[in-house]
């Protein structure tokens, strides 16, 4: 069981490493891609935490983060394209 929390911390650490690209990326597209990947990694950590605690309430949070991250990425992409 405590293996799950360890693996969740590993995923969260990967998301923290990606903050380098989020803050230092040369262009706006780099930052948007990094934010998208951070959202996916955070989702993974949330799902593993739901398995650790055995409660499905955290899965709802993961679903909402997934939806919001997708909408945000598409919005930034359309904005960069100049069609918004």
């Amino acid at each position: 069981m405590s293996m799950f929390i360890f693996l969740a911390i590993c995923f969260a650490a990967l998301a923290l490493i990606l903050l380098i690209r989020l803050f230092g990326g040369p262009s706006a597209a780099d930052r948007a891609v990094a934010a998208d990947a951070i959202e996916v990694l955070t989702d993974m950590a949330l799902v593993l935490f739901a398995l650790y605690s055995g409660r499905s309430i955290y899965l709802d949070i993961a679903l909402v983060t997934a939806v919001l991250g997708f909408i945000g990425s598409v919005l930034i992409g359309r904005y960069l394209e100049g069609k918004l």
């Binding site: 998208d36 989702d43 499905s56």
Partner: protein
């Protein structure tokens, strides 16, 4: 069975780590997008299959297993759409291709 679940999660952790390293090392924004697809596909798939197996076998919670499967399918379905929008937006915004790029048919055809 629990070891199969751990192995699936560790495989997907490996691919996610490879994607993150690729995102830090690749030369330009488009190659970084390729690496971020690596995080979004096999990085999520292993965890989601493991979550479905664990919550169905050990927690005896069918609703939770279905919810895990829905999150996995949703992430896999929406990842390419976001990647496509970001790549096209970056190109029209004027993000440069790296010096290693050997051909650019899209730019040639847009200038016509």
């Amino acid at each position: 069975m629990i070891y199969v679940i751990y192995a699936l999660i560790i495989v997907s952790l490996f691919f996610a780590a490879a994607g993150v390293v690729g995102m830090l090392r690749m030369p330009d924004a488009y190659c970084r997008m390729q690496s971020s697809t690596n995080v979004g596909t096999l990085g999520t798939l292993g965890v989601m299959i493991a979550a479905v197996l664990y919550s169905a076998i050990y927690l005896h919670d069918g609703g939770m297993a279905v919810k895990c499967a829905v999150i996995g399918i949703f992430l896999i379905l929406t990842n390419p759409i976001a990647g496509h929008a970001l790549a096209k937006g970056a190109y029209h915004h004027g993000v440069r291709l790296s010096k290693k790029t050997i051909m650019d048919k899209y730019g040639e055809d847009m200038e016509k």
